[in-house]
């Protein structure tokens, strides 16, 4: 529900250039469709269907889609990802239109802007109907992708993560210069922006990063900033992909307070949100 103002319908897009250690949407990191495997359901039903003899079980996770099409009658095997063409997507989205007074559509991910060109038509169709469009993004994308859709976007919800170039490359596998460049581009366009900081002592609340955040917000005064503690809501999705669950990444109260004071000092409005 933390996806912008009012009641919104959110489209989660597959594919992300980053690999944040705390990611809660691991099913949206890869660009292609992928199988998932729910071990609990399999264990409860294993052997009771004739199909079980031919089932790859957990090996399905190593298979590529759509090379093979194993199916489980109990729903232990399934697929993350579904393709829609723009018209079909907009038709489905518009069913929720009566709820959007003050709200609208949010594109999230993964990294929504990685599919910016594919989204263009859907956004245009929505804009023709005067629908408010928000994009949740890390902005670690080629600027051309941002520019492709910037005219249609009313609100950017921009994650601000690790701002040191080396650590950003090392931990997130992303080029922070792209981020800086894209923030400048979005701000120059006068777009409404809400910055969001995922908070944890280990990565984003280090002394060094707090200093970099201070520098950053001196350049971007007057914007809304939302802080949130990292959560483990994605744990079952990690498990379904055969990955180890993400660790817990705590954020100590004092460092959070320090970050709040940094942001407020730069005349930004700050709030702490929960998922």
């Amino acid at each position: 529900m933390q996806d912008g103002p009012g009641i919104r319908t959110t489209v989660f897009l597959k594919g992300c250039p980053l690999h944040c250690p705390w990611c809660c949407n691991p099913e949206n990191i890869r660009f292609d469709k992928q199988f998932y495997f729910l071990e609990d359901i399999c264990t409860a039903n294993r052997g009771t269907s004739i199909l079980c003899n031919h089932c790859p079980a957990t090996d399905v996770l190593a298979m590529s889609y759509p090379g093979q099409r194993p199916c489980c009658p109990f729903g232990a095997i399934g697929v993350y990802g579904k393709e829609y063409d723009a018209q079909e997507l907009v038709r489905i989205l518009l069913k929720d239109r009566p709820y959007w007074e003050g709200g609208g559509v949010t594109f999230s991910g993964g990294e929504a802007l990685m599919q910016a060109r594919e989204l263009l038509l859907a956004m245009r169709l929505l804009k023709e109907k005067d629908i408010h469009i928000a994009v949740e993004t890390s902005l670690y994308v080629q600027t051309g992708l941002l520019e492709a859709v910037i005219d249609y976007v009313d609100l950017f919800l921009i994650d601000v993560k690790i701002l040191d170039k080396e650590r950003s490359k090392d931990i997130l596998d992303g080029d922070v210069d792209l981020f800086y460049q894209n923030v400048r581009r979005a701000a120059a366009d006068g777009k409404e922006i809400v910055f969001r900081i995922p908070c944890c002592d280990e990565f984003t609340l280090t002394d060094e990063n707090l200093n970099l955040l201070d520098d950053f917000f001196q350049d971007y005064k007057g914007y809304s900033v939302e802080l949130f503690r990292l959560h483990t809501l994605g744990i079952s999705k990690h498990k379904s992909l055969g990955c180890l669950p993400v660790s817990e990444y705590p954020a100590c109260e004092n460092r959070m307070k320090h970050l709040v004071s940094i942001i407020e000092k730069n005349s930004n409005r700050v709030s702490i949100i929960t998922f």
Binding site: M1, S49, P73, F74
Partner: protein, 625 residues
């Protein structure tokens, strides 16, 4: 054998009177519940409290020269007996001198020959009439539109400085506590099923929303008391202020299961189209749970029996020449044929129903005095009947499965389907999850499922529209399904993936679908003609979801009203808490949940009801598929 009137007179002479230091006088003598057992006692309705608020009892009587039939004499006798009971209560108050007895004495003396004079006195009269109805074995008794009824007294007393808002808040809490105290006796089939529903808020002819201080004060009283009973229903429309909705959502978020929301923008037009004059339609309340009823003028028994949509499908699969059915259209036609036969059985049950002569209720039912007729002879202004239905969701899903697997993908024959159902899916358990899955199911806002559902319910209208009862009443039905467990207990497996004995789905619900999707689906159903006998969307919500998104949830309710749900109720609770409360009931003695159309203590529910709630909560939280 004593006549009803004689029985009632003996009752008024004999029943034990108990008065104590409570704020109001209220007692039911369980040793003297009147039971004449000469037909079915009226129940599931709301007597006309307004009659007693606006009149002294004596003024309700026929003049001697106007007593032209037996009913008029019986009617007058009932009032005489009530006056005797009141005089006995006065004597007892005078003898025992409980707290504030002089005021209470005045309230009761006034009841003989004066209209109610103040807010507290009005509450006492509502309690007295309610008590009389219970004492005479009427059950599932509503309280009516109390914020509207009490508002003139509230305004007059507060304007004169006799009352503060705090006094009123306290009195409303006492009122609710008193009504709750005998809830075990008052409960019908399940503990908590008392029918004690207070209706709040209303619309005017132009669609403006009407509410007052008492609307909010009642909601706040229910929120503070945390009792499952009495319950509240809040009428809403698209102009309902956010302040009222916020108050309602705050109350709902405590988990108390109330208020149920009823959408005037959908309900009032349906009542008018059905032939109810606008002024009466605007005054609707509901029977014990959801079924719209015209307050104080309507003796309709709205839950007389239940139509099980799945019975017809089971009959078809078990009895028909399946090999002759070659297309889904044929199959659907055969289904509707069996449905019409089942409806004939329902009509026989309804047609045989006779009510007991009831001059006590007739005194407090508008229309009887004017027509000089008892309610059991059609005295009330409205005398329709209503039935509930069950398993529409399962039936629609089963039909969609048959369409897909038999006629489109041709993976099964109808005989294969029959074999699966007869054997309770033995050796074919792997089909169950497939049959339960799917994106086009009851509760999804997909054209195919909406049109199939509407086709079935419109067919029921075609088959019932010409039916009349011995009182000339018509038959209504709705899609709220209170018997989703009882009707399913011995029912064979069904092709929606339900095994023998497993419960049917609850009301209009789909715990896997988004809330907006379920509301969109419900709003697309056709509640016209006689299809308005309660159509409640039932949602499971986690407390943390509302807590983190309170304003957005209020928005959701607001926009859902505009989209056009008929009625909506919610259980705000987590699966974790329900599981813990099932395992360790002593640790959760006051945990309240919403069941059917009422709230109940979780500890009091039979285990199968607990299991349904737990499973639904788990599904809502995506912890099971």
């Amino acid at each position: 054998m004593q006549t009803i009137v004689e029985l009632f007179d003996s009752l008024c002479h004999d029943l034990s009177i108990s008065v104590d230091d409570s704020e109001f006088v209220y007692f039911i003598d369980f040793q003297h519940i009147m039971d004449a057992a000469r037909g079915h006692t009226f129940s599931n309705l709301t007597p006309n409290y307004r009659i007693l608020l606006e009149n002294g009892l004596i003024s309700l009587k026929y003049r001697e020269e106007d007593c032209t039939n037996k009913f008029c004499h019986d009617y007058n006798s009932v009032i005489d007996s009530l006056c005797i009971l009141i005089s006995r209560i006065c004597l007892e108050l005078d003898r025992k001198k409980p707290c504030n007895y002089e005021t209470k004495l005045e309230w009761f003396r006034n009841m003989i020959d004066k209209p109610a004079a103040g807010f507290f006195e009005a509450i006492q009269r509502i309690l007295f009439l309610n008590q009389i109805m219970w004492q005479t074995n009427h059950r599932l008794l509503g309280l009516g539109t109390l914020d509207t009824l009490l508002d003139p007294f509230y305004r007059s007393d507060t304007a004169q400085g006799k009352l503060s808002k705090e006094d009123v808040a306290g009195a409303l809490q006492s009122f609710c506590r008193i009504l709750h105290q005998d809830f075990k006796y008052k409960s019908n089939m399940l503990l908590g099923d008392t029918g004690q529903i207070i209706v709040l808020g209303k619309s005017d002819e132009k669609g403006n929303y009407l509410y007052n201080d008492l609307t909010i004060l009642f909601i706040e009283a229910i929120e503070k008391l945390n009792l499952p009973d009495p319950k509240i229903l809040l009428r809403v429309n698209k102009n309902t202020p956010r302040e009222v909705l916020r108050s309602a959502v705050r109350c709902i978020s405590t988990g108390v299961g109330a208020p149920l929301l009823a959408n005037d923008d959908v309900i009032v037009p349906q009542l008018v189209k059905y032939g109810v004059p606008m002024q009466d339609a605007l005054d609707y309340t509901v029977s014990a749970c959801w079924e719209p009823l015209i307050c104080g003028k309507d003796s309709s028994l709205n839950n007389l029996t239940t139509l099980n949509f799945m019975r017809s499908l089971d009959n078809l699969i078990m009895r028909d020449q399946l090999s002759r059915i070659t297309s889904f259209e044929d199959f659907k036609k055969r289904y509707l044929k069996y449905l019409s036969w089942n409806l004939n059985a329902v009509k026989r049950v309804v047609g045989r129903h006779r009510f007991q002569y009831d001059p006590v209720l007739s005194v407090f039912m508008e229309g009887c005095f004017e027509k000089r007729k008892d309610v059991s002879h059609g005295g009330a202004v409205y005398n329709d009947v209503g039935i509930t239905t069950v398993a529409l969701s399962n039936t629609v899903n089963a039909l969609l499965n048959i369409k897909e697997y038999v006629f489109e993908r041709k993976l099964l024959s109808l005989v294969d389907v029959k074999t699966m159902l007869v054997t309770n899916f033995k050796g074919k358990e792997d089909w169950i999850p497939q049959l339960k899955a799917g994106d086009i199911r009851y509760g999804h806002d997909e054209d195919e499922v909406i049109s199939l559902t509407n086709e079935i319910i419109r067919f029921v209208t075609e088959e019932t529209k010409d039916f009349t009862t011995y009182l000339g009443g018509r038959m209504k039905f709705g899609l709220s399904a209170p018997s989703y467990i009882d009707a399913a207990k011995v029912f064979p497996a069904s092709f929606d993936g339900r095994k023998r004995g497993e419960p049917f789905h609850v009301h209009i619900s789909n715990d896997k679908a988004a809330y907006t999707e379920v509301v969109n689906f419900a709003a697309a159903l056709d509640y016209g003609d006689n299809r308005f006998n309660g159509n409640v969307v039932d949602l499971m919500v986690t407390p943390v979801f509302i807590e983190n998104n309170f304003d957005k949830f209020v928005d959701f309710v607001f926009f859902s009203i505009k989209v056009g749900f008929f009625q909506m109720q919610m259980n705000v609770i987590s699966s974790e808490k329900l599981i813990a409360a099932k395992e360790n009931p002593e640790a959760y003695p006051n945990l309240i949940v919403r069941v059917w159309g009422f709230s109940a203590y979780f500890r009091d529910l039979p285990v199968e009801y607990k299991d349904v709630l737990i499973e639904r909560a788990l599904r809502n939280e995506h912890k099971v598929s």
